[in-house]
């Protein structure tokens, strides 16, 4: 099948050595989190997508569907996170048809990490994968090079430090659903307000055995406050004193006389 060709990567490295300034990557800042609570897993994400210093999307969806019982938050290059979660979601669906069983979180984990590893970090997707399957609730982080961690609470993205500080001080095992949601919302809000790469709203996804709730825009802490009610009006027009129209080309009138030319 071929696989990834690293020729251009070698060329880029050689050019940098020769002194060429490498064009900057379009990093999409993000705060994504996940935690395990008493009955399952809660995932959270902000909704800002950036292109350098510009906010490209004020309300994008960073919590991706993988299976009815598994969801995945994505940080890094938006196209990479979308494509890789879409692809693995597709493979999981086919696997469910063939086995007749619910998908396991470790299956999604293994597919994602082996894909990312084979691309040696060039697919820049940092993911927080969470779900509840027949073996219980699971939460994992996946790094762009393909390494993974299994954790009770996790954060990724440019706002991960801000969110992690909230988790480290307030996380407890066996939290209730409301406590868990409150903590996740607090962690994401911390990222939204303290990290430039994260912003806008808080999305939350609660996964328990047999049920999942996707709470899109659970919190809207950045509403658009000032909208001018007056609208726009332009002041006094210029008075028209005199009108003259000059055609740029002479208009020739075509008069049809008689029958068409005979052959």
């Amino acid at each position: 099948m071929g696989g990834f060709s690293f020729d251009l990567c070698k060329r880029n490295e050689m050019l940098v050595q020769k002194g060429l300034k490498q064009p900057s990557f379009l990093k999409t800042g993000t705060t994504i989190v996940g935690l395990i609570f008493r009955d399952g897993v809660i995932l959270g994400a902000d909704t800002r997508a950036t292109e350098g210093p510009i906010v490209a999307d004020k309300n994008c969806e960073k919590i991706h569907y993988m299976a009815p019982n598994i969801y995945c938050c994505g940080a890094g290059t938006a196209a990479d996170t979308e494509a890789v979660t879409d692809m693995v979601s597709s493979q999981l669906k086919l696997h469910r048809y063939h086995t007749g069983r619910e998908s396991k979180v470790v299956t999604a984990l293994t597919h994602l990490k082996s894909h990312l590893f084979s691309y040696q970090g060039h697919v820049q997707a940092a993911l927080v994968l969470g779900g509840v399957d027949m073996t219980g609730p699971h939460l994992h982080t996946i790094y762009p090079h393909g390494s993974t961690d299994t954790l009770p609470f996790a954060t990724m993205g440019s706002g991960s430090l801000a969110a992690m500080s909230v988790f480290e001080s307030k996380y407890r095992e066996g939290m209730s659903r409301d406590e868990g949601i409150k903590l996740v919302a607090e962690a994401i809000s911390s990222g939204i307000f303290n990290d430039l790469g994260s912003g806008s709203n808080v999305d939350i996804c609660v996964i328990t055995k047999g049920k999942r709730e996707y709470l899109r825009n659970y919190l809207l802490p950045n509403p658009r406050m000032y909208i001018s009610e007056k609208g726009y009006s332009f002041s006094k027009k210029t008075e028209v004193l005199f009108t003259k129209i000059t055609p740029l080309r002479e208009v020739v009138e075509v008069i049809e006389v008689g029958d068409a030319m005979e052959e």
């Binding site: 692809m87 597709s90 669906k93 086919l94 048809y97 063939h98």
Partner: protein, 235 residues
């Protein structure tokens, strides 16, 4: 396809213009267990005999009716292993279609792609045609649909059809009883009666399989106890 040293097709024309391998494949289908499908006004039902080689076989492990997508199901007559290959390929094709267009694959498209695969195996090197005919039942925005696909790769849309051992009796029976206004539950009863016609032995929820799809567009395979309920309604 076309691996090993066979770059030429094993399916070749006879002087009379027939592809003998396909004729033989149809014979293999004709000696397989009876299966049938009926399109009702508000859905489709497909059914098949599930005769196992011995009473020692665990019948819960055998499933002849398969789901291709949430709204499309399939049953076969002929060689079981061949049908498994087609089911696998069809599921993958449906998923690839969804990934490309982000909409569920229409029934006709899936049938066409499956039929294309079957045709390829009649014109490629080193392979033989599939020894199955498929009945594909689906419900999409064009309504309920029933298609039959043959080993040659030709497919037709049917109001009601049967395949396998008892095909001529079954088709005559269906022709007499078919009504376009039939509701899905009545169609299930008709399907059971048609199977009963050529059934050797006592019919029960364990030796037939029924799959159906109605207005909710979800293909369901009935459990043995659900089949028993329908059988009791018919008897």
């Amino acid at each position: 396809m076309g691996d090993s040293q066979y770059s030429f097709s094993l399916t070749t024309f006879s002087p009379s213009g027939k592809l003998v391998q396909i004729e033989h494949a149809l014979t293999a289908v004709g000696s397989g267990q009876t299966s049938l499908g009926i399109k009702a006004a508000n859905g489709v039902v497909i059914a098949t005999e599930k005769k196992l080689p011995s009473i020692l076989v665990d019948e819960t492990s055998v499933q002849k009716i398969q789901i291709l997508t949430p709204n499309i199901g399939v049953v076969y007559s002929g060689m079981g292993p061949d049908s498994r290959v087609l089911v696998r390929k069809s599921r993958k094709q449906a998923e690839q279609y969804f990934r490309l267009y982000k909409e569920p694959i229409p029934v006709t498209q899936l049938v066409r792609e499956t039929a294309t695969v079957m045709q390829e195996f009649t014109q490629s090197g080193g392979v033989r045609p599939f020894g199955v005919s498929l009945l594909v039942a689906g419900y999409d925005d064009k309504g309920p649909q029933l298609y039959q696909v043959d080993p040659s790769g030709s497919y037709f849309s049917w109001k009601a059809s049967a395949m396998g051992k008892n095909v001529s009796n079954a088709k005559t029976f269906l022709e007499k009883r078919y009504d376009e206004e039939t509701e899905l539950d009545d169609a299930v009863h008709t399907a059971i009666l048609t199977l009963k016609e050529g059934f050797e032995g006592q019919i029960s929820g364990k030796n037939i399989e029924i799959g159906m799809i109605d207005n909710d567009k979800i293909f369901r395979i009935l459990t043995p106890s659900e089949i028993e309920d329908y059988l009791n309604e018919v008897a």
